[in-house]
């Protein structure tokens, strides 16, 4: 205050002055840019620098505030200074911790839900900031009119059909993958086997025949498929291209045909004999062609594009198809394929996975059966043969996407998306398990006792009370054990305890371990050992015992290496704990415990530890 008024001209202070006191100055001088933060010697952080340097310049009194950094022997590095002065201060991070006390207190109040509390923490700040925008978006999306699908056959059953189709697709993929892996299917996939292939462009399936199976050179199946459309214009140039490839030396193409490739003339006879194919593919894939009024294509596919393997086989001339492309042979093959198509639209019967391919795996068989059932149901559905099917399916896809988006948005806005939800759920389960709350989340007796415990860890304290662990202890011993809940320093000298105290210590330690295990079981991120060690520190048990028995302060300080200030602080906090235990005793209705806590409180409230001030002696 004197400094603020200007009576004191120069103030030497620690960092603390800069932190909390509203006392600006004209100039700030940094003695050093390093500090000890309790753990290590380190450089100042940009945030700390800003806090301290910001003191310079009093509003209304100074035009400029000056900051001076004392260099003494060495000038700091430029990079260090730059980082310090213009570096980004530490990011704000939420230190919100979900504790049992908080949950229990909130559950007692009817109007506030714990989720509301979680939503308001800083950790959820970003999500909640975007909330109004998301709400607007949701409203917008909901207002968008959904296009209704008009079914020409009466009631729209397109939704069921679509869902069945999706399911069937999923089944089919898993089945065909399995089928392809089966050894027996390899036996069937020989040249000449009819297969149904998934087409690239749309969802329709194409009938085709295997021309070549994978070999070392080419890992794909070569298949001739019927594409349905005539593309006659594309024929001649492509065949000429092939010829060009074969004999690289003629440029003119159509007129001079080398002797062995008389494709056009071979129309009149087709040789039945099949030369042994040398495995060479001499045509460019995909090779589109046209024959017998149907377009066809020779392409290479992966085995997962094979939809199903048909029961029938046709005879193909591999050599003629691939090595010496001959139009006759193509046309013959196409004709045979067309013949195999039963009624123009459906595909020939597929191999039964179970009977023919001997698929034995139980899951796959179940899948397969489900798939067959779905197919049957789909065919019974009116949509199956509908001309508008493709259109409707496209619409359904769109609608589903839209619905998915809507759900995603709703989820993000809901309670489930909170970061701390899983932990919260875990803690609620723990509380239910140990009967602090009942299944309706109404706080029970144990929960009410736990609400009283503010100084120690609430679960351990409540369990200790309700297990009657303090029953056989004298008040002095009881308060000594309670000191374990409030003492906050590790790595102290081991106290020497009487057998009774040692027993009590073991009991409470076991309780803590048990609680830690329980929490871990319910997915609360807690390690039992660490939990017990963090919340129970037995360093001052002997000291407090002696103090409660009446030993002078000077003597008890000798018993341990803990500093005197910490001893005093712990004992003062212990008084608070005694009061809480006393309240708990009145909730539970046990007067013996009540009296014991009162006695204990009186035992420790004496002499220097509870002196109001060391400088002013009062009575």
């Amino acid at each position: 205050m004197l400094f603020c008024r200007g009576v004191i001209k120069v103030l030497f202070s620690t960092e603390t002055f800069a932190m909390g006191v509203n006392a600006p100055a004209r100039t700030v001088v940094f003695d050093s840019l390093r500090k000890f933060d309790g753990k290590e010697h380190r450089k100042l952080l940009p945030g700390e620098y800003i806090q301290m340097a910001g003191r310079a310049g009093r509003r209304g009194l100074d035009n400029i505030g000056t900051v001076i950094v004392m260099c003494r022997d060495e000038i700091p590095e430029e990079s260090d200074l730059k980082n310090l002065i213009v570096g980004k201060p530490t990011r704000l991070e939420s230190q919100f911790r979900l504790t049992y006390t908080m949950i229990l207190h909130l559950l007692r109040v009817e109007e506030l839900k714990v989720e509301d509390m979680l939503k308001r923490s800083f950790a959820e700040f970003h999500a909640q900031k975007n909330l109004p925008e998301k709400e607007k978006l949701l409203l917008q999306m909901l207002c968008q009119p959904t296009k209704t699908i008009d079914c020409i056959k009466g009631e729209p059953t397109i939704e069921e059909y679509y869902e069945m189709a999706l399911e069937a697709e999923a089944h089919r993929e898993s089945i065909t993958e399995a089928i392809m892996q089966l050894h027996s299917s390899q036996q069937f996939l020989t040249p000449g086997r009819l297969v149904v292939v998934k087409s690239k462009s749309d969802d329709d399936h194409l009938l085709g025949v295997i021309v070549k199976t994978p070999s070392a050179a080419l890992k794909q199946y070569i298949i001739l498929v019927l594409t349905g459309d005539c593309m006659s214009s594309a024929i001649v140039p492509s065949s000429s291209n092939q010829n060009e490839k074969e004999s690289g030396d003629f440029k003119q193409g159509y007129f001079v045909i080398p002797k062995g490739k008389r494709g056009m003339e071979d129309e009149y006879f087709s040789s039945v004999s099949t030369r042994k194919s040398s495995g060479v593919i001499n045509i460019k894939l995909p090779y589109k062609g046209d024959a017998s009024g149907m377009g066809f294509e020779v392409r290479a596919i992966e085995n997962k594009e094979i939809m199903s393997i048909c029961t029938s086989k046709i005879k193909i001339d591999q050599v003629r198809l691939l090595e010496d492309p001959s139009q006759t042979v193509y046309s013959k093959t196409v004709q045979m394929l067309i013949k195999e198509q039963p009624d123009g639209n459906k595909y020939p019967a597929a191999l039964d996975a179970i009977k023919d391919l001997k698929m034995k795996d139980m899951l796959l068989v179940e899948n397969y059966h489900a798939y067959q059932r779905l197919l049957k149901k789909m065919s019974e559905n009116k949509c199956h043969g509908c001309i508008k099917l493709k259109e409707h399916i496209a619409l359904m896809k769109e609608q589903k996407k839209y619905k998915d988006q809507l759900n995603e948005l709703k989820y993000q806005m809901s309670d489930e998306a909170l970061q701390q939800m899983p932990e919260f759920q875990g803690r609620i389960d723990v509380l239910k398990e140990i009967h602090y709350i009942d299944s309706d989340l109404v706080v029970q007796l144990k929960g009410r006792v736990a609400c009283e415990m503010n100084s120690g860890e609430e679960l351990i304290s409540t369990e200790c009370l309700l297990e009657n662990q303090l029953d056989d202890l004298e008040p002095e011993e009881a308060v000594a054990i309670m000191s374990a809940l409030v003492f906050q320093q590790r790595n102290t000298s081991e106290p020497s305890l009487t057998p009774k105290l040692a027993d009590a210590r073991k009991r409470i330690y076991d309780t803590a371990i048990r609680l830690g295990n329980l929490q871990r079981e319910f997915k609360v991120p807690v390690d039992p050992e660490e939990y017990a060690r963090d919340h129970l520190k037995f360093g001052l048990v002997e000291v407090v015992y002696e103090w409660a028995k009446g030993t002078p302060f000077a003597d008890i300080c000798e018993l341990t290496d803990v500093s005197e200030g910490l001893i005093v602080r712990t004992i003062v906090r212990l008084d608070e704990t005694c009061r809480e235990f006393r309240n708990a005793a009145s909730i539970m209705g046990n007067s013996a415990l009540y009296k014991k806590m009162e006695t204990a409180s009186n035992a420790i409230k004496r002499d220097i530890v509870f002196a109001a001030s060391l400088y002013i002696t009062g009575i």
């Binding site: 007692r108 109040v109 009817e110 109007e111 009967h435 309706d440 989340l441 109404v442 706080v443 007796l445 144990k446 009410r448 609400c451 369990e463 009370l465 309700l466 297990e467 009657n468 029953d471 056989d472 539970m588 209705g589 046990n590 013996a592 415990l593």
Partner: protein, 384 residues
């Protein structure tokens, strides 16, 4: 061996409980089998008293005499009531019956465990003896006796409904069916203009404009004072003065602590507040709006008695209130579902609102409840 009430001095507070010890046929219904009318716990003895009352063949005008309800049951009705009550008793879980104790019973306790003695127990000659009538509860090592019918015992966070009896400096005193009056501090009450500020002397002088004597108020228990009386708070929009409705007084043990005590029944546009202290409020629904709206509305309201409650709403309010009266007379635990069900049953059987307090509906409700519990039990055992 039952100790009959005549030989024992009645400690205060037990009078109404020991009423149940009227000497009746020993073959019927010892205390612990006077089980579950009210939900999970053993039954209130009053209803038992009622049935026993006419079993002991008292005069017809006394039969079925309940709190607030003077019923005269004719013969068939009596028989039906008896049957319904008997069935309710038989549905009671036997486990609850086993744990019931009366005053001076020894609580069976393992001597090796060092148990913690809680409420309602005392140590006599090394044995743990009950000092209350109720059910023994065990929580870890704590053993205590939970009373079934007792005075209201407040907890922090309870929602209660009370009536102002006095305005004292900076506080209101409310009557809440407890041994002492509750105190609602001026600072625990939100001001009409909604601003958060220190309460000045002017505010203190204007306390009457917020609540007057005999106003019904809803508030929440904030804590206990050192002398045991309650401190209340009414800061939220939901708490405060209750208008346009009925206040019903039922025994406090019929209202169990649940997750939700404020119920807004949309179908009837009625607010139902189940106060934990046994005061129940049934009233017109109040839209919880912004504070600023209240200021604008105020001149309009004071100038005329505008929008009075529509007749339909009033009928619903009366019906629900009567449902509560009947249920409390029968001694069933009050839950929203049960109240609504009873009200709807009265509508569906075309019972007039004032006839709801008559004998016929009384018996009908008892039977319906017996049936419902039986169904529930069957479903549970079937599911298992």
């Amino acid at each position: 061996m039952r100790v009959s009430s005549e030989t024992r001095p009645n400690p205060s507070g037990f009078g109404h409980v020991l009423l149940g010890f009227l000497p009746f046929r020993t073959s019927a219904l010892p205390l612990h089998a006077t089980a579950c009318y009210s939900g999970e716990g053993p039954a209130p003895l009053r209803a038992q008293c009622a049935s026993s009352a006419y079993l002991c063949s008292r005069g017809p005008q006394r039969a079925g005499a309940m709190r607030d309800l003077q019923l005269s049951l004719n013969q068939t009705q009596r028989v039906r009531l008896e049957a319904a009550l008997h069935e309710l008793q038989s549905l009671a879980p036997a486990a609850a019956a086993a744990a019931a104790v009366t005053v001076a019973d020894t609580i069976p306790v393992n001597d090796e465990d060092n148990i913690l003695k809680g409420h309602g127990t005392s140590d006599q000659d090394g044995e743990v003896v009950a000092t209350l009538c109720g059910v023994v509860e065990r929580v870890n090592k704590l053993v205590y006796v939970r009373t079934l019918r007792a005075r209201y015992k407040p907890e922090v966070g309870d929602i209660i409904v009370g009536r102002v009896i006095e305005i004292a400096p900076k506080r209101w005193r409310l009557e809440i069916n407890f041994s002492q009056d509750a105190v609602l501090m001026l600072s625990s009450m939100s001001l009409p203009d909604g601003i958060q500020r220190r309460r000045t002397a002017v505010d203190e002088l204007n306390m009457r404009s917020i609540f007057e004597e005999n106003d019904v108020i809803c508030a929440e228990v904030r804590g206990f004072q050192h002398d045991g009386s309650l401190h209340l708070q009414a800061r939220s929009q939901k708490y405060g003065k209750l208008e346009r409705g009925q206040l019903l007084i039922v025994p406090a043990y019929l209202v169990k602590r649940r997750k939700q005590h404020f119920h807004h029944l949309e179908r009837y546009d009625v607010d139902l507040i189940l106060g934990c202290n046994g005061f129940i409020w049934v009233g017109e629904h109040v839209v919880v709006g912004e504070n600023t709206d209240k200021i604008e509305d105020k001149p309009a309201l004071s100038s005329e008695v505008e929008n009075f409650t529509p007749l339909e709403t009033r009928k619903h309010i009366c019906r629900l209130a009567n449902a509560v009266r009947v249920l409390s007379a029968l001694g069933f635990t009050l839950t929203v579902e049960l109240i609504i069900e009873t009200a709807e049953a009265s509508v569906s059987s075309n019972v007039e609102i004032n006839a709801m307090l008559g004998a016929e509906f009384f018996v009908h409700t008892a039977e319906a409840e017996a049936k419902r519990r039986a169904d529930l039990l069957r479903k549970k055992s079937g599911a298992r």
